[in-house]
């Protein structure tokens, strides 16, 4: 993406040579990021489509599989990501209103910490736990105990949340780059485009999770079990 690549050219003027003025560059960067997000909608969307098909074909198995996930971790992670989206917009707000570099960096780092917390909760409390329960397809799935329908659910669960987590990790990389750029004084109320378009990416990853949480964790409701 444009924000990432410009870092490797520290002598780049604010306007790249192919653009006539900063306004054109900003609009191009923005449209570029939105177009990229459309490709991401179709990318995740294809997975959602396959998921929808199989959920309608195997509703009982998918419900069983869903109940093997812990709602409290899913809900907590949803809240964590929402907080990180807030800190992200606040970082941009600071740049827009000319706040100090350290203000921007504080919010960026908070975003990163929340993102890291999300991944930490996922890895440690969820995936590691799933591994110890014999729920990971291809590695140690307990077919005799759970059946192939639940195994299919788990394939979707791990693939969709794994792809999402990969996007989060990439996001953390982008945020790191942004912290460095901020520290070098690259941003001001006149120029903060990389923050803005990286924010778009971050919010998009948040939106994916907003759908993953109910679709994976809350299938068929949880009223048949006690509080979780």
């Amino acid at each position: 993406m444009a924000a990432h690549s410009r870092l490797h050219d520290p002598h780049a003027a604010e306007v790249a040579h192919q653009f006539e003025d900063p306004e054109q560059q900003r609009e191009a960067d923005s449209l570029g990021m939105w177009t990229f997000l459309v490709t991401e909608i179709m990318f995740f969307g294809a997975l959602f489509a396959a998921y929808v098909i199989y959920r309608s074909l195997y509703p009982a198995a998918f419900e069983t599989g869903s109940h093997l996930l812990e709602v409290k971790f899913g809900a907590t992670n949803t809240a964590v990501l929402i907080c990180s989206s807030l800190t992200m917009v606040l970082a941009i707000y600071c740049a827009q209103t000319g706040k100090s570099k350290s203000a921007i960096i504080t919010f960026l780092v908070l975003t990163m910490l929340l993102g890291a917390a999300f991944i930490g909760i996922k890895l440690h409390f969820e995936w590691f736990h799933d591994y110890s329960e014999g729920l990971v397809p291809g590695i140690n799935f307990n077919l005799a105990k759970y059946g192939s329908g639940v195994e299919l659910f788990m394939v979707f669960y791990f693939f969709m949340t794994g792809l999402h987590a990969l996007h989060m990790v990439i996001g953390l990389g982008i945020l790191t780059v942004l912290v460095v750029m901020t520290a070098r004084g690259r941003f001001s109320p006149r120029y903060y485009a990389p923050l803005d378009i990286s924010g778009l990416y971050w919010h998009f990853v948040d939106i994916i999770w907003i759908f993953l949480f109910p679709l994976l964790y809350l299938i068929g409701g949880r009223y048949t079990h006690g509080g979780h």
């Binding site: 900003r26 923005s30 449209l31 939105w34 177009t35 997000l37 459309v38 909608i41 179709m42 969307g45 294809a46 959602f48 489509a49 929808v52 098909i53 309608s56 074909l57 709602v71 809900a75 949803t78 809240a79 929402i82 907080c83 989206s85 807030l86 992200m88 917009v89 606040l90 707000y93 827009q96 209103t97 485009a193 803005d196 378009i197 924010g199 778009l200 919010h203 998009f204 948040d206 939106i207 907003i210 759908f211 949480f213 109910p214 679709l215 809350l218 299938i219 068929g220 409701g221 949880r222 009223y223 509080g227």
Partner: protein, 114 residues
């Protein structure tokens, strides 16, 4: 993305709404609504998405082009899901074809035409 600066109050209001909606969707899951559990979950998810898109991603203050791009993406995903589901759901409507010797359903009509 635009030069419009959204006030912090708006961001905080959106943030609180998102947290409340998350709590709501979790809470509703523990209530038996039958098939409406899924509907409720999706409605809440779409609402949360709209809040993020319109305010955090500034689309409320963006050009029409941005809105068209987003709608196109969502619409195309809808095409994929709808037409694929149309096949999956209606495959069972057609009975398995019988052997050639069994009389055609249309034979009475055809013979009347001839």
């Amino acid at each position: 993305m635009s030069e419009h600066i959204v006030p912090v109050k708006t961001y905080l209001a959106v943030f609180v709404s998102l947290i409340l909606l998350t709590a709501l969707t979790t809470w509703v899951a523990y209530i038996d609504l039958g098939p409406f559990n899924t509907v409720a979950a999706l409605v809440i998810a779409v609402t949360k998405m709209l809040l993020v898109v319109l305010f955090f991603m500034h689309v409320k203050y963006s050009s029409g082009m941005t809105k068209i791009v987003i709608i196109a993406g969502v619409f195309w995903l809808a095409i994929l899901i709808t037409l694929t589901m149309a096949d999956e759901m209606t495959r069972v409507w057609t009975p398995d074809p019988g052997p050639w010797s069994s009389p055609s359903v249309l034979l009475p009509f055809v013979s009347r035409l001839l």
